[in-house]
């Protein structure tokens, strides 16, 4: 355990040295090496914890009331360490190349990146409520500073502001939750909190606070407003880390609190299922309507958090109904999807970052034809796109498959509750999967296929090795988890055992059917891969010795095609966006083309965030109106501030004097 903390220390140390070093290049490398050493050291206890040898928990006294510096690694913590330990070093390495061209000082971004990595690692190992909140805040603040890296742009500052408000709304809920959790306890240690008995009403209040508090970090729909702003604003390796890894700390927190609350009620499970379905469907629907590639990816994070939550909801329902298959496959699918989403979403953000780095563009409608110019980026982006759509043989399939099997087991059990759950999950997941596939057909097709839609896209070039290698490593991880699916399901067992409090052996038995199914899929996948490989080889060998000509991409037989005749992202997504228009509220501006020789025409669409437009903007405006009279006290006149102090003092003295009579 001490080794784990030493690893966190090394990450921070790397950041501190990077602050002190002059020169951009050595600073970038030192910070990255700090992350690598730190994660390397921390991975040793994590691996032994996953292998049934939990490191010895440590606990030091802390002068804060109810607080102690206690750390431990159980199956759940160790599993949530995996995405952190996998993605952070790769994203740091990617950052070395990505940040290379920046003219401004990188010290802040390097330092806070390392602090963020260390704080996430500490967070999942913390075993005390107060310490948890402190580390949670360090994580929130360091990521805030990463978001506002490009702070000369107004939209970046606004994104930072939104993130800061959103994360503190979450922290406020968590503060209330831990205060209620610890009411009547001597210490906020998790072991002490778990041992306390609570009424169901109290536990439900705590659960609701946890959903709000952790949901604002994870990005449950309606609490997600910061994601589509902050992810495009942050540097790409930071987006990858935040979207791929940091938002999962919300899921971790929710699971950890579930272990403290005692036996769950079915209502909690239904809540999670509904939250999951709404986040999943609305997330992907909003993603479809986006033009900015990083904003699109941010909405996909909302979608995937929805899938994860759906799995957790099924697991909680399984706990309250006592159905081991639902427990194992619901929790297992959700938790495994945490790792899978971390891998492919970071990869997608790396790809988007590489495109932005190479072309300076994030707008899908200005890109195109990049597969020829950025072969590796395109290929890895394709792998990640297939993975996020849940297609075999990649990793996204494995976790979604588990949730599907959980739903089918519900049909099999054939009680009214399980059947409703099964229908909800099956239709919801199928809809999400289909829309995600459409969305990534759009994203990949518009960015990488066809002809460049602008000069910047035409002049693109492949990115350097420090950015290329992390992408390739993650693509390999996508494939590896997909092909080692049965092993991955066994790997998630310790984490499920902590949440469900069950015997790993029984859980493994419950997962037996799913593992057999996955094994079959793996065989088919391997065959498919071999056949595809063979065909590719054949394709390469076939034209040998024959004359080859190169020409433009198929141009529909037009005499003078221009890249502007291609489908745009908006036109590709238009039928689906129209289908969801009541939800999306897409605004269209422009004029219809009339006549045979139309004059200049313009058209644009814009899909603002529904939760922000319809929920938070009116809410904050009414709060603003409410407190406006108070603002009159805050006018900047020093004398009157002093007068407030003096008046308060005198009034208190008079009050006291009146009391002594």
């Amino acid at each position: 355990m001490v080794l784990f903390l030493v690893g966190c220390g090394f990450a921070v140390l790397g950041g501190v040295i990077a602050l002190l070093v002059n020169g951009s290049k050595p600073a970038r490398w030192i910070a990255t090496i700090g992350v690598w050493i730190g994660c390397g050291l921390a991975s040793i206890p994590v691996i032994s914890a996953l292998g049934d040898q939990a490191p010895h928990p440590v606990q030091w006294a802390w002068s804060m009331p109810g607080g102690s510096l206690s750390f431990a690694l159980d199956g759940l913590s160790a599993f949530f360490c995996l995405p952190i330990l996998l993605v952070s070093p790769l994203a740091a390495l990617y950052g070395v190349g990505y940040l290379a061209g920046h003219a401004r000082s990188l010290k802040a971004v390097l330092f806070f990146y390392n602090v963020l990595v260390a704080s996430m690692l500490m967070l999942v190992a913390t075993r005390n409520g107060l310490l948890f909140l402190v580390v949670w805040e360090i994580m929130a603040i360091s990521s805030f500073f990463l978001v506002i890296f490009d702070d000369e742009h107004a939209h970046v500052r606004r994104a930072g502001w939104t993130y800061l408000v959103a994360t503190h709304i979450g922290t406020a809920a968590l503060l209330a939750m831990f205060a209620l959790l610890g009411a009547g306890a001597d210490s906020l240690d998790f072991t002490a909190l778990a041992a306390m008995g609570r009424s169901l009403t109290m536990a439900t209040v705590l659960f609701a606070l946890a959903v709000i508090g952790f949901g604002s970090k994870a990005g449950f729909f309606a609490l997600h407003v910061w994601l589509p702003q902050a992810h495009p604003a942050a540097p790409s390796h930071v987006s990858a880390l935040m979207s791929g890894v940091m938002i999962k700390t919300g899921i971790y927190g929710l699971l950890r609190v579930l272990t403290l609350l005692g036996a769950p009620s079915a209502g909690w499970g239904w809540t999670l299922v509904i939250v999951g379905l709404s986040s999943g469907i609305l997330g992907v629907a909003f993603a479809l309507a986006q033009h900015d590639i990083k904003r699109l990816l941010a909405y996909h994070s909302v979608e995937n958090i929805g899938i994860i939550t759906l799995g957790l909801g099924a697991g909680v329902l399984g706990l309250s109904w006592g159905q081991p298959v639902l427990i194992m496959l619901g929790f297992g699918g959700g938790i495994l999807h945490v790792l899978n989403h971390a891998v492919f979403k970071s990869l997608l953000f790396f790809g988007a970052g590489a495109v932005a780095h190479s072309t300076g563009l994030r707008d899908i409608d200005h890109l195109g034809g990049l597969l020829k110019r950025m072969r590796w980026t395109g290929l890895t982006f394709l792998v990640a796109s297939a993975a996020i759509c849940g297609l075999p043989p990649f990793n996204g399939f494995v976790s979604e498959f588990l949730i599907y099997v959980a739903a089918f087991s519900g049909l099999h059990a054939a009680t009214p509750g399980t059947v409703v759950l099964a229908i909800g999950i099956l239709t919801g997941l199928a809809l999400i999967g289909g829309l995600a596939a459409a969305c990534f057909a759009k994203a990949f097709g518009m960015v990488f296929l066809g002809e460049p839609r602008s000069d910047h896209a035409g002049g693109a070039h492949e990115v350097g090795p420090t950015m290329r290698w992390p992408m390739m490593a993650l693509a390999v991880a996508c494939l590896a988890i997909g092909l080692l699916a049965p092993l991955a399901v066994r790997g998630v067992l310790p984490a499920v055992a902590v949440v469900a409090g069950g015997d790993p052996g029984a859980l493994l038995e419950a997962a037996g059917g799913a593992i057999r199914g996955l094994t079959g899929v793996v065989y088919i996948s391997v065959t498919l891969l071999l056949v595809t490989g063979g065909l590719l080889l054949f394709r390469r060998l076939l034209p040998r010795g024959k004359q080859q000509t190169e020409t433009g991409t198929w141009d529909c037989g037009y005499a003078r095609p221009t890249p502007r005749m291609q489908y745009t992202a908006s036109s590709f997504a238009q039928p689906l966006v129209d289908l969801f228009r009541t939800l999306l509220g897409t605004r269209k501006r422009g004029m219809a083309v009339r006549g045979f020789f139309p004059a200049r025409a313009t058209f644009e669409t814009d899909t603002p965030d529904a939760a922000q437009e319809r929920l938070f903007a009116p809410l904050f405006q009414s709060i603003d109106r409410l407190v406006a009279p108070i603002r009159r006290m805050q006018h900047g006149r020093v004398h009157e501030y002093l007068l407030y102090i003096a008046a308060t003092l005198v009034l208190l003295l008079l009050f006291w004097k009146a009391g002594t009579r």
Partner: protein, 223 residues
């Protein structure tokens, strides 16, 4: 001891009635010396070394060093008079008398635990603090406000002396640190105010306020 208290009270009234900044600085310096003498007076011949040290340090800082710094600031900033205070000088003295009455009334029912100091000393301390606050609120120049801060701090110190003669050493060290930091900030403020705005009127600091712009920020964020 009561004599010292009376002098302190008179110095406060003088401060409230004076418009010239140079005079005000001298009065505060005299106040610093008086306050520094208090431990010697209070010990009634029972003079330990640490009381001597305390007195010397206090007189050196409050009576000489800090006023000297203030007069340097005064010379640099060309401001010599407190013009147009929010409350006039005559009215200020009247208010001062009112504040003294308030201090008397409040301290009448305050009891010092285990201290043999006279009630007047405590009243003086309250009066010093209240005068300092009053000056801060009612005067425009930032220099006067720094002086008022010193007066308030003198009041706090007198409370310390009134409470016990043995242990104020630690308390005083903390307070001195506080004062030097406060003065440092004030000095910076004075310097920058003068350089940026060509005046030392703290009431014009509203130009820096973001209160008027914050509604825009909110509506911007909600767009």
């Amino acid at each position: 001891m009561d004599t010292t208290s009376v002098f302190l009270i008179l110095s406060c009234l003088l401060l409230l009635g004076s418009s010239r900044l140079r005079v005000a600085i001298r009065v505060v310096a005299a106040q610093g010396v008086l306050v520094g003498l208090l431990p010697l007076v209070r010990s009634e011949g029972n003079l330990h070394l640490h009381i001597w040290i305390l007195a010397v340090v206090i007189i050196a800082t409050k009576g000489f060093a800090l006023p000297w710094l203030m007069s340097v600031a005064l010379r640099r900033t060309r401001a010599h008079r407190e013009i147009e205070p929010f409350i006039g000088f005559g009215a200020s003295v009247l208010c001062g008398v009112g504040l003294f009455a308030l201090s008397l009334w409040i301290t009448a029912s305050l009891q010092l635990t285990g201290a043999e100091a006279s009630g007047l000393l405590l009243t003086t301390a309250f009066f010093l603090v209240l005068t300092g606050l009053f000056l801060m609120v009612s005067r425009r120049k930032a220099i006067t406000q720094s002086l008022a801060y010193l007066v308030m701090e003198n009041g706090v110190y007198v409370v310390g002396i009134g409470m016990s003669l043995e242990s104020p050493f630690l308390v005083e060290l903390g307070i001195l640190l506080d004062v030097s930091v406060g003065l440092f900030i004030m000095g910076n403020l004075l310097f920058h105010l003068d350089r940026e705005f060509d005046h030392l009127d703290a009431d014009k600091l509203t130009e820096l306020s973001d209160a008027s712009s914050s509604p825009d920020l909110i509506s911007e964020a909600s767009e």
